[in-house]
Amino acid sequence: MASFPEILGALAPYEWQPLVTLVVGGALVLFLRGLAAGTRPGGWRVAAFLLGLALMYAVTQTRYDYYAQYVFFIHRLQHLVLHHVAAVLIALANPLPVLAAGMPAGLRERVIRPLWRARPVQWVYRTLQFPPVAALLFVGLIYFWLIPSIHFDAMLSRDLYALMNWSMAIDGILFWWLALDPRAPGPGHYSVGFGKRCLMLAAVAFPQIVLGAYIVFADSDIYQIYDVCGRPWPISASTDQTIGGALTWIPSAMMSVLGVVIVLAFWHRHERGAEGRRARTAPASAAST
C-alpha cells in the first residue's frame, strides 16, 4: 500500500502551471455556480463535464505528467485524453448554458456576450469551425507535434511543451463540440449538418491510422528525444515507440467511430422531432385546403 505522503506526492503537479489551475478551477467554479443558479443539465451531463475536466487536469497537473514527459507511449496517452477522450466528454456535456448561467450577470451581459458577438470573434470562430478547416487543424496538430524535430524541441522546452498541451486540449474541445453539437443547423447559432459531421469524423480517422501505423512499423528510433532525456525506468526505445504508435492508431480511430454513432443518434432524434412537428401541423393545413 502506498503511504499518505506518497499519494500526496503523486497528486501534486510535476511542474505546476498556474494557468491550468486557473482555467480548470475557473471552469469548475462557473459550472457549480451555474448548477446553483438553477440550470438542470441532467445527471450524465454533469458527470461527463466533471470527468472530462478532471481527466484533463490529471494528465497535466499530477505525477502523471512526469511520466508523460519521459515515456513516449505515456505522452501519446496524455494526448489521447486531451485531444480525444476528455474533449469528447466535455463537448457531450454541452456545458456552455451552465457555464454562462454561472457567470456574474454583469460580466456575462456586458463583456462576454458582446465580445462573443463581435464580428472578428465570430469570423475567427466560424473559420476554425468550418468543417474542412476543423478537420485539417485536428489532424494537422497531431502531425505537427509529432514531426521529430518539433517533438524534440517540445519535450526540451518547458514553454513549448505547455503550448503543445494547450493546443491539443483547446483544439480537441473545439473539434468535438463541432462534431457533437446536439443542435441541427438553424437561425441564431452556428452548427453544421449531421451528414457533413460524419464525413468530417471519417476524414480525420484515416490520417491518424496512417501515422499510427507508420510509427508502429518504423524500423528505427524516430523520437530521439527520449534517449536524450532519459527514461524513468529502463524501457526499450522500440517497445515504447510501438505502444505509442498503437495508441496513436487504434483508440483515436475508434473515437471517430464512436463520434459517428453519436452523430447518427442525434440525427435520428432530430428527424423524429421534425416528423413529429410535421404530423402536428399537417391536419391543420389539410383542414384549411
Partner: protein
C-alpha cells in the same frame, strides 16, 4: 478560448520562424531554453560542491553511472578524443562534469578512478537522490533503475546527451551521440573563443 487559439497559432508560427533563422550552430542550440548551471552535489573527495565552484571554464555536463555498459564509456571516450583535438590553451578552458545518478554504487573513490581514465579534466560528481532529481529536472531529463538480477546488478536509465555551458554557466548546446565529431569540435571552439 478562441483568443487563446489564435495566440497559440501566432506563437507557433513565431517559433517556426525563430527555428529557421537561428540555425548556424551545428549541434543543438539550447540558448534561452534551459536555465544556467546550478547544483548542490558531492565531488570525488566526498566534499559538498556547488556550480559556483566550476565557473570560469566551458563546462560539459553528462549524466551516467560507472557500471554503465555502453552509453557512458562510449560518450566519455568520444569527448576525450574530441577534447584531445583542441590546442593546449583551449583545452585548459574546458571541463567535463560526469554526474553519477547511481550514488548507491558510485562512491567518490570509485568515481575518481573511473573519470581519471578519460583525462584530468573529467570530474566525477554525485549526490543524494533529492540533489540528483533537482539537477535532472532543471535540465528536463530524468533517470531510473531497473530490477536487480541475482547478483544485485541493475541497469540505470539516464539522459544520453551532453549539455554544454559557457564560462558564465549559461546553457548553450546539447550534443548528441549522432552529432559528427567535426560539428562538436567546431561548436566547442566557437564557445571557447566567444568567452
Amino acid at each position: 478560448m478562441r483568443e487563446m487559439r489564435t495566440a497559440a497559432v501566432t506563437a507557433m508560427l513565431a517559433l517556426l520562424l525563430v527555428a529557421c533563422t537561428s540555425g548556424d550552430w551545428r549541434t543543438k542550440d539550447i540558448s534561452g531554453m534551459m536555465p544556467e548551471l546550478a547544483f548542490n552535489l558531492t565531488n570525488e573527495n566526498g566534499q559538498s560542491v556547488t556550480a559556483e565552484d566550476y565557473r570560469g571554464k566551458v563546462t560539459l555536463l553528462f549524466f551516467g553511472y560507472t557500471f554503465c555498459p555502453d552509453v557512458c564509456p562510449v560518450t566519455l571516450a568520444r569527448l576525450s578524443r574530441i577534447l584531445g583535438k583542441l590546442d593546449e590553451d583551449a583545452r585548459r578552458d574546458v571541463q567535463v562534469l560526469f554526474v553519477s545518478v547511481d550514488p548507491r554504487r558510485d562512491t567518490p573513490e570509485r568515481l575518481r578512478a573511473y573519470t581519471s581514465a578519460f583525462g584530468k579534466d573529467f570530474i566525477g560528481l554525485t549526490g543524494t537522490q533529492d540533489q540528483l532529481k533537482a539537477l535532472n529536472k532543471r535540465y528536463r531529463v530524468t533517470y531510473g533503475y531497473g530490477e536487480p538480477d541475482e547478483n544485485g546488478n541493475y541497469v540505470v536509465s539516464h539522459s544520453g546527451a551532453v549539455f554544454v555551458f559557457n564560462r558564465a554557466g549559461e546553457a548553450r548546446l546539447l550534443v548528441r551521440d549522432s552529432d559528427p565529431v567535426e560539428a562538436v569540435l567546431a561548436d566547442l571552439r566557437r564557445i571557447i573563443e566567444s568567452g
